[in-house]
Amino acid sequence: MTDNKHDRDQVVGNVDITRRTFLHKSLLTGGAVATGSAVGVFQTLSSMEIASAAMSEPFSFAWVSDTHLYPRELNQRFIDKTVRAFSEVQAMGDKFDFMVFGGDLAQLGHPVEIELGAELLQEVTIPKHFIPGEHDWYLDLGESWNKHFGETPWTFDHKGVRIIGVDSVGRAPDYWSARGMSNEERMAHMSGLDGSQAGPWSGLGSEQRQWLSSTLSDWPKDAPVIIFSHTPFYEYFPPWNFWIRDWREVQEILAPWQNVTNIHGHVHQPLYNEIGGMRSIGMLATSWPWPYAPEGVPELTRPMLRVDPGDHFDGVGWGNLAMNAEAHMEVEYMMWREQVFGVGRADSGTGDNVNQKLSPRISDRGWTGD
């Protein structure tokens, strides 16, 4: 088990199958899988299988997140990629019991952006469940989001699995009132990943932690639980809010359950980590890939290949996930390229950063509202 460890050098060389994280063997044999997407057949590339104890009735579901839509007239490419993802999900719709949209539908939370997203989401006709991202929230504090997609958290039981969706973005400490920020300024500071004004905005908060505890209280400790969140349930890289600030308290709540899977967005990159009986799995964005955190990645993560910035369909995609009969979670990154993971230092999205040392930005530290 890994307890939030990071070791860049180990990660670079850690491309072998590990005890708890390994390539799905049927895919390792090189079989091409038809997705029926708008662009036709493409190879599936990767799949991780995660061990657990309890049995489950198998089912599959899709994950799409981080579309970061601007108004249509400003940015067509993000729309194109969103449409491609939704079309591919819909084309495989018979396979999926539901789709989760994991947040950051919009870029600046504008109702026009959220309405555009809602319009594009109509392509997918299987049941859909939604959790917000910070980009959806901080212009109007969730008003447009909740109007279109309902409130969070939520829970339901599905084929022997307790499924939970939480809001890990909308409970930020108030950084805007004392500074006299307008709604647009609040949103602008929130939308910059490496800004300093919004602070540690990601977290569940005490009320939602209490809800989580209560929701799980009647659930058998060896039965599987899946929790969808926008941000990861561990401390990956706080300066970019690649965490929830109350992850220790959340871990304490989840500790009695033996098979918890946290599926999250926000990081725009494949990630894998384990703490106790919980594993966290980072999913792709459709919009653009973030670089890995400067300090490296959790040691069980297989870093993705660094991508071609000249191809805006590179390094992005969506997720094809399944809970099999052994309550094993299978994750397949539906990335729109032939190779997903780096196999050498020069090709790795984190291994090529051995000489890099970074400093937090400075220009917004003294923001006064001028």
Binding site: Y70, L74, N75, R77, Q107, G192, L193, D194, G195, P239, W240, W288, P289, W290, P291, P294, R306, D308, P309, G310, H312, A346, D352, N353, N355, Q356, K357, L358, S359, P360, R361, I362, S363, D364
Partner: protein, 150 residues
């Protein structure tokens, strides 16, 4: 006779050039390295640098300035490079795969502006480029100099 006159003219022009250059040289040197640097002077140097870093930071994060248009997609540099990560200024100049040619950091900045951002390339020696360069180097200070590395 003719040759003597030419030689004299050349000697006169050369002397004039030497005096002129010496004057220019002395004027330009007058304020540099004549006295020890005190804290105030060093602060002034650093302030001049940090002014460019902050301007570059703002441009990198989506601000604009008169006469430039670095993006037509809503994308800013920092959206792919938070903290200026994965820019690797310490690895330039190098063969740049995307351009299929030997490139400087400034070349790559303009490539990103023109290709992913669909903006308009900026003057490679202009104010915006120097500020972007200042911010990127400042953000990556302490990185190991490794030119040519891919």
């Amino acid at each position: 006779m003719q040759s003597f006159k030419s030689k004299g003219l050349i000697a006169f022009i050369s002397a004039l050039l030497c005096v002129s250059l010496a004057f220019v040289f002395m004027v330009n040197r007058a304020s540099a390295h004549k006295v020890s640097h005190d804290a105030e002077t060093l602060k002034a140097f650093n302030d001049a640098f940090m002014e460019q870093v902050i301007l570059g930071d703002e441009l990198f994060h989506g601000a604009t300035m008169e006469g430039i248009n670095m993006s037509n997609t809503g994308m800013a540099c920092a959206m792919c490079h938070p903290f200026s990560s994965d820019v690797h200024p310490h690895e330039y100049p190098k063969f740049q795969e995307q351009m299929s040619e030997f490139a400087t950091l400034r070349d790559m900045i303009n490539w990103c502006i023109e290709k992913p951002n669909e903006g308009e390339i900026i003057d490679p020696d202009g104010e915006a480029m120097k500020a972007l360069e200042a911010y990127i180097y400042w953000s990556n200070r302490g990185s190991v100099l490794d030119p040519g590395r891919h």
